[in-house]
């Protein structure tokens, strides 16, 4: 018996969230005295399987290559996981939109309760997970035979992407359910790093006043190699798309440096970024709750401060 981690990939590239989930898988396997396998399911996903085989600490890669697994439709993937589950004690996936979509469907088909968004492994059946927007941490024990788990990426430092050479084994497809089919994707195109794996993030809130003003943040982001994020207030106001959203119901991030600009600091936003290593807050309201958790606070009008910061960074880069 072993631990199975569902790899996340897109356009032939393994997503970094897989490495965080593999790290959690490694901790569980150590506690259970077993090993970690990775499942790569998709269409033409051979190159991704080869990449997955190099992940440090992986004993085996299963590859299910079929058009039915293109675009990660849960209706088609869940039966595959259910079929494979007989050989595993734990099924894991990153707590990304793909993992959150797929794993509860698998859990219900296996008649087990999923353990969502774990932030620590206590033992092979006991895990810590945040509840109430991270305002409480629950330690929960599963009584189910198979543990279906999603992993909070920021809580588990990624394992090395290279070094190993695990065997790759094809598995048979479970076919197309006929319940759903992919129509189109409109993915945000950006030269900047992804929010969930960026080393530096600069986020804007309601104080940005408009979507156009986000170019101020983008200019700073480019000098720092940063990703650009937003609070729910900025998304609700239509300044930026939803995939910018950091918070309880958006993305959970923990970069080395998080710069919050014009963000007051509602608990729902803090839930998404309070594990960042260093937090900077820039806000004109010195009473804003964000200052209570910021390492460095600067009280001022962002429309003056951000251009100044941009200039200062440019000057020092010369």
């Amino acid at each position: 018996m072993a631990v199975l981690v569902v790899a996340e990939h897109d356009a032939g590239v393994l997503k970094p969230a897989t490495l965080n989930a593999a790290a959690a898988g490694g901790e569980i396997a150590k506690a259970a005295g077993s090993e970690v396998h990775v499942l790569v399911a998709g269409k033409g996903c051979g190159p991704v399987a080869a990449e997955a085989a190099k992940i440090a600490g992986i004993a085996k890669v299963l590859v299910a290559d079929d058009a039915a697994y293109d675009h990660g439709l849960a209706e088609n993937l869940a039966p595959l996981l259910v079929k494979l589950a007989a050989g595993y004690t734990h099924l894991l996936a990153p707590a990304t939109t793909a993992g959150k979509n797929l794993m509860p469907r698998v859990a219900a088909l296996l008649d087990v309760m999923q353990i969502s968004d774990i932030s620590a492994v206590v033992s092979a059946d006991t895990f810590v997970r945040p509840i109430y927007a991270g305002n409480a941490l629950a330690t929960v024990q599963s009584k189910d035979a198979i543990k279906v788990i999603t992993v909070r990426g920021t809580a588990f430092p990624p394992v090395e992407a290279g070094g190993a050479n695990a065997p790759v084994e094809p598995v048979e497809s479970t076919g197309d359910s006929g319940l759903s089919h992919f129509v189109k994707a409109e993915l945000s195109k950006s030269e900047r790093p992804e929010l969930t794996s960026a080393r530096v993030i600069i986020s804007g809130g309601r104080g940005m006043q408009s979507g156009d003003n986000f170019h101020l943040l983008e200019s700073v982001a480019d000098k720092l190699g940063a990703a650009v994020g937003a609070s729910r207030a900025a998304v609700d106001a239509g300044f930026v798309p939803n995939d910018y959203q950091v918070g309880q119901t958006g993305k959970i991030v923990a970069p080395e440096l998080y710069i919050a600009v014009g963000i007051s600091g509602a608990i729902q936003h803090l839930a998404g970024m309070k594990d960042s290593k260093v937090i900077v807050a820039i806000n004109k309201d010195e009473e804003a709750p964000i200052f209570q958790i910021a390492d460095y606070g600067l009280v001022g009008d962002l429309f003056k401060v951000i251009p100044e910061l941009d200039e200062e960074l440019a000057k020092r880069q010369q």
Binding site: P104, A138, V140, H181
Partner: protein, 249 residues
């Protein structure tokens, strides 16, 4: 066709929750309770489908303690036609909720079921997907746009990289994301009218569902508090601190 929405009674999103001194959970006594915000979006979407003539009737279901009636009344005041309460004092986990909803759905026969993507108390994000699995239906999770025509639905989904559009066969489970719509407020006349709308109460036993929790909560703790730092006086000072003290740029 009929639409069914599930509405959960949760600690209001404005309440700063406190962990109980004995570490068994969070304090919910004398705390303001409200409908889960994502469920308000579900109710709104179902009402819009009815107003568009796609749906004839909207049924609001809640599961849990007797006070969940109030949450159903809120949905009825928004405009839902009638309510179903599955009443129990047992802690309901998503798998049990999905099984109970399946039983209600088999009685009521809706072709579209709309559920919030996540409850803001346990943050599980499971129930809709589990319900779809148990019914053998497709699942349109994290929806930001829903179009129904004939026996099919097209749903735009909020995914990590942007948006994705998927076509589904009805019957369908939809879970709602923030940008699907803006829920309406209940007007006073509608709040009065809602008091006369019927709510049927049943129990897990009557529905033949075992709701025994599968996860045991061993303890609930407060996370480590993050200490506030210093205020800096200028941009130059901030950049100095980030470079020399924190060494992050």
């Amino acid at each position: 066709m009929k639409a069914l929405v599930a509405v959960k009674r949760v600690v209001d999103y404005n309440v700063k929750v406190r962990v109980k001194a004995d570490h068994t959970g969070v304090e919910t006594a004398n705390v303001k309770m409200s409908m889960n915000p994502f469920d308000e979006i579900s109710v709104e979407e179902a009402l819009r489908l009815r107003e568009a003539g796609t749906v004839e009737e909207v049924i609001a279901v809640s599961l849990g303690v007797q006070q969940c009636q109030e949450t159903i009344r809120t949905a009825l005041a928004m405009g839902a036609d009638r309510g179903v309460l599955v009443q129990t004092d047992v802690e309901l986990q998503p798998l049990a909720v999905a099984k109970l909803l399946k039983a209600v759905i088999e009685k009521e026969g809706p072709e579209i079921v709309i559920i919030g993507k996540q409850a803001i108390d346990d943050d599980c994000n499971q129930t809709g997907q589990m319900l779809a699995a148990l019914l053998g239906w497709p699942q349109a999770t994290f929806a930001s746009k829903l179009t129904i025509s004939g026996g099919d639905a097209e749903v735009t989904r909020e995914v990590d990289g942007g948006l994705e559009t998927i076509a589904y066969k009805l019957p369908l489970i939809v879970t709602t994301d923030l940008r699907l719509n803006e829920p309406r407020y209940a007007s006073l006349p509608n709040i009065m009218k809602a008091k006369k709308k019927p709510i049927v109460t049943m129990t897990p036993e009557e529905l033949g569902v075992d709701v025994t929790p599968r996860l045991v909560t061993l303890k609930v703790e407060e996370p480590a508090k993050r200490q506030g730092g210093v205020k800096v006086g200028s941009v130059a000072e901030l950049v100095d601190k980030l470079k020399l003290e924190a060494r992050v740029i």
